[in-house]
């Protein structure tokens, strides 16, 4: 029988990939993935929204509507809303809280009967939305307040049959599709029909994203309002590119003066409509993900590097292999390659779980521009930790010492940001997250497990303490981080390689 042949190094590589260590890494990755999903679910579970929605007074009642959409523009049903409304003038107006749920069109409709209070002033005191998914809220109305947040929406006095302002409403096809229609309300003086007015629709590529994002605005075709009959009408919106999320409508007269507008987001002292999501859920998700991976991936790296290289070397179990027709360098490199392969697959898998979970739960995947930096930081944290284990296997005598010296930096690195803040607060209670933030970033470069967290901060502009970063936080940017990351991976590896080749 002719023997099948296979290179000895490839043979060793394949053997490593079937070891129990890889099983352990898979278990750790599953735990990390599940943890990421839970983090996303919890981050997307509650949004506090300031403001209200389309409102008008008609037939003895105020009507308020809110529309909930996901990041892709699709209506979200099942969003729970709690609205508290009180009277601005007297206690005779109805209050709340009103518990409502969005319907299949994403609409949350509230009717507040005021049969004998046609001139009541109403104030929306609070509006809270609870959803398992990330939600964009559109609302409109004529309000008097100032951004950034509107803790109170003052509806003001409305005469019977009068609707003020202009407001977007969205058809079942969704706001962002070409077939969308806008429901426009316009009122002339004393509730008369508007005449000689036109409606400009503008689109801005300022895309709502769970992960934030900024861009400019461009104009869209102007629609004459002449076709509008009555106080409201449906007409098609313009064709918008891709994932357009912000549209504002301007009601202008013949001289081009803007009489009213729907502006997203709302602007100071301007009548219109707006949406506010208090926080982009992607930011805490990335922060939580980075914190989890600060533990899981370096731990997986230590386990797999210890199992595949350090333990066989320190127990002598690798000696029967070294006595075979192989070189020390070859075995070292092949085992590092197998460890690196496992950890790269694990890192990609972790990121894929995050990406898929964001897409499924938030309605939008992790931005493409984020993927490479995040993956890079995961690889630095994992491959760097593995390289340290390889190095320790040549510097210490026992397996226990290797594990101890591997786990201590992991623990220190994992808790570093909390530790730094705690030490600062202990030294002087006046020191807070601000000082901690300025000190944190440069020191994160000294701890391998901190790299995912550092990358997350640089991407989102927020430190783990929730404080905003300056333009060049502590002199640390992606270039500096990448330089340190490469050094963390290559230097221990190179030293370990030299020791493996020249020392027993």
């Amino acid at each position: 029988m002719k023997a099948r042949t296979q290179g000895p190094y490839r043979h060793d590589l394949l053997r490593s990939w079937t070891s129990r260590a890889v099983f352990a890494v898979v278990v750790l990755c599953l735990a990390a993935g599940a943890s990421a999903v839970v983090a996303i679910l919890s981050a997307g579970g509650s949004f506090s929204v300031s403001g209200s929605a389309l409102y008008y007074y008609e037939e003895g009642a105020y009507h308020i509507s809110i529309w909930a959409y996901d990041a892709g523009g699709a209506p979200v049903s099942g969003v729970q809303a709690q609205i508290t409304v009180t009277s601005g003038e007297s206690n005779r107006s109805p209050a709340g809280p009103y518990e409502l749920t969005s319907d299949s069109q994403g609409e949350i409709a509230l009717t507040i009967p005021t049969p004998d209070q046609a001139s009541a002033n109403l104030t929306v005191e609070s509006l809270r939305l609870v959803s398992a998914r990330s939600v964009t809220v559109l609302w409109g109305g004529f309000f008097y307040s100032s951004p950034p947040a509107l803790p109170t929406l003052y509806l003001g006095y409305l005469a019977p049959g009068v609707v003020k302002g202009i407001t977007l409403a969205v058809s079942g096809a969704g706001f962002f599709s070409a077939s969308s229609q806008a429901l426009v309300f316009a009122a002339g003086p004393n509730g008369t029909l508007p005449s000689g007015l036109s409606l400009e629709t503008c689109w801005t590529p300022q895309i709502y994203s769970p992960f934030g994002g900024r861009s400019g605005c461009s104009g869209l075709p102007t629609e004459l309002l002449g076709s509008v009959t009555g106080f409201w009408s449906h007409f098609p919106l313009g064709e918008y590119p891709g994932n357009a999320s912000t549209v504002f409508l301007q009601l202008v007269n013949r001289s081009g003066q803007i009489l009213d507008l729907v502006e997203l987001p709302g602007s100071v002292g301007t009548a219109g409509a707006s949406f506010v999501v208090n926080h982009a859920p992607g930011v805490p998700i990335l922060t939580d993900f980075a914190a989890e991976e600060s533990f899981f991936l370096p731990m997986a790296a230590i386990v797999v590097a210890y199992w595949i290289y350090a333990r066989p070397r320190l127990s002598g179990a690798v000696e029967p292999v070294l006595a075979r027709p192989v070189t020390r360098r070859g075995i070292f490199l092949m085992r590092y390659a197998s460890v690196a392969g496992v950890l790269t697959v694990a890192s990609v898998a972790e990121l894929s779980v995050l990406d898929a979970a964001c897409a499924g739960i938030l309605g939008e995947p992790v931005p493409t521009a984020y993927l490479a930096p995040i993956l890079g930081s995961l690889l630095v944290a994992s491959l760097g930790s593995a390289g340290l284990v390889f190095l320790l296997a040549h510097l210490v005598k026992t397996s226990a010492s290797t594990l101890t010296f591997s786990l201590v930096p992991l623990a220190a690195g994992f808790f570093w940001s909390s530790l730094l803040l705690g030490l600062l607060l202990l030294s002087n209670p006046a020191y807070g997250p601000g000082l901690a933030t300025s000190l944190l970033l440069p020191t994160q470069l000294l701890f391998l497990p901190q790299f995912p967290s550092l990358t997350s901060s640089l991407l989102t502009g927020l430190s783990p303490y929730g404080t905003p970063l300056g333009p060049s936080p502590g002199g640390v940017g992606f270039a500096v981080e990448a330089g340190f990351g490469v050094a963390w991976v290559l230097v221990p590896l190179f030293v370990a390689y030299r020791l493996a080749a020249t020392r027993d």
Binding site: M1, A3, R4, T5, Q6, G7, P8, H11, D12, R15, R20, R311, P312, S315, G316, A317, E319, P320, V321, L322, A323, R324, P325, V326, T327, R328, T502, R503, D504
Partner: protein, 309 residues
């Protein structure tokens, strides 16, 4: 063939070298015994020759290939059996052999067949799938032999493998080693059981405190350390004489057999006779033993004032 040329080894943190300028060779078709006290450098010599430990200076040429610079080619001609075979706690016998066979470009069923064959040869076929950690010392030694048999190497490096073996195991190793010699292979065999080496080795290299004292061939050995056995057997018959004749020269004086140039050690001869049903009333030797010879060499090395040279 292995040529050990000016071998030096100093372990980090150790003030004295483990080996210092050691020269000798292992020829094809011979058994070379390696003798020394604890710490003499026997295991270090074998580990360096096996490519497991790096020398500080000097070189080991295996069939002309340097074990450091041309490791792959050199290791293809080496089979190493350590005194204690190192293995991962979860390792199973056949599984580990299949893995090791992979380094000789064998995989799948050919590797499995080779592993089974090796295990059968050393008598571990019935426990092929058992964890090695459950093996006795003797079984682990046999497993080491099986691992060395995987590639059918030209040179065998056997480090104290006779220690802890039962009589059956020793007989197996003895027969195996003699067979290897017949096949023209070189066998470097270190052992504390000097009587065994005396019976088996064609030459013996004496190491002491990292220095090579001497390499003595069989003729000189039998001349200087020759040993005659006097065996008194109650039920002596032609069968016993026939057996003893196969392992040495026999002269009979009543019930006492004088066995000279025996290829078996005294203990082994006794054990074999008893196994064959003979009542050995008495057995004694005359002449200086290999052990005496070795101790004399050490005394010579230290010189008349007891100082090392």
């Amino acid at each position: 063939m292995i040529v050990i040329d000016g071998l030096n080894k100093t372990y980090p943190g150790k003030p004295t070298p483990a080996l210092e300028d050691v020269h000798f060779d292992l020829r094809n078709g011979e058994i070379l015994g390696l003798v020394g006290l604890n710490g003499a450098g026997k295991t270090t010599t074998i580990r360096i020759s096996a490519g497991v430990t790096l020398p500080s200076h000097g070189q080991v040429l295996v069939d002309g290939h340097d074990i450091v610079r041309d490791k792959v080619r050199a290791s293809e001609a080496i089979g190493w059996v350590p005194e204690i075979f190192p293995f991962a706690p979860e390792a199973r016998a056949r599984q580990l052999l299949v893995y090791l066979a992979g380094f000789h470009r064998l995989s799948g069923s050919p590797a499995d067949a080779r592993a089974r064959e090796a295990l059968d040869k050393v008598g571990l076929g019935r426990v092929a799938d058992a964890p090695i950690r459950t093996f006795s010392q003797g079984m682990r030694r046999r497993f080491g032999l099986a691992a060395a048999m995987l590639s059918d190497p030209q040179n065998l490096l056997l480090d104290e493998i006779l220690n802890g073996l039962d009589p059956e195991g020793m007989a197996f190793v003895r027969a195996w080693v003699v067979d290897l010699r017949k096949q023209g292979k070189g066998v470097l065999l270190s052992s504390h059981l000097l009587s065994e080496l005396q019976a088996l080795a064609d030459r013996v290299a004496f190491l002491h405190q990292g220095h090579l004292l001497r390499v003595v061939d069989r003729e000189e050995l039998s001349r200087k350390a020759g040993m005659n056995l006097h065996i008194s057997i109650d039920n002596l018959d032609s069968g016993a004489v026939a057996f003893l004749s196969t392992i040495g020269s026999v002269k009979i004086d009543q019930k006492v057999v004088l066995l000279s140039r025996s290829s078996m050690a005294q203990a082994a001869v006794t054990a074999e006779l008893v196994r064959r049903g003979y009542r050995v009333a008495e057995i004694w030797s005359e002449g200086i033993s290999l052990e005496d010879f070795f101790l004399q060499l050490i005394r010579d090395e230290r010189g008349p004032d007891g100082e090392g040279s």
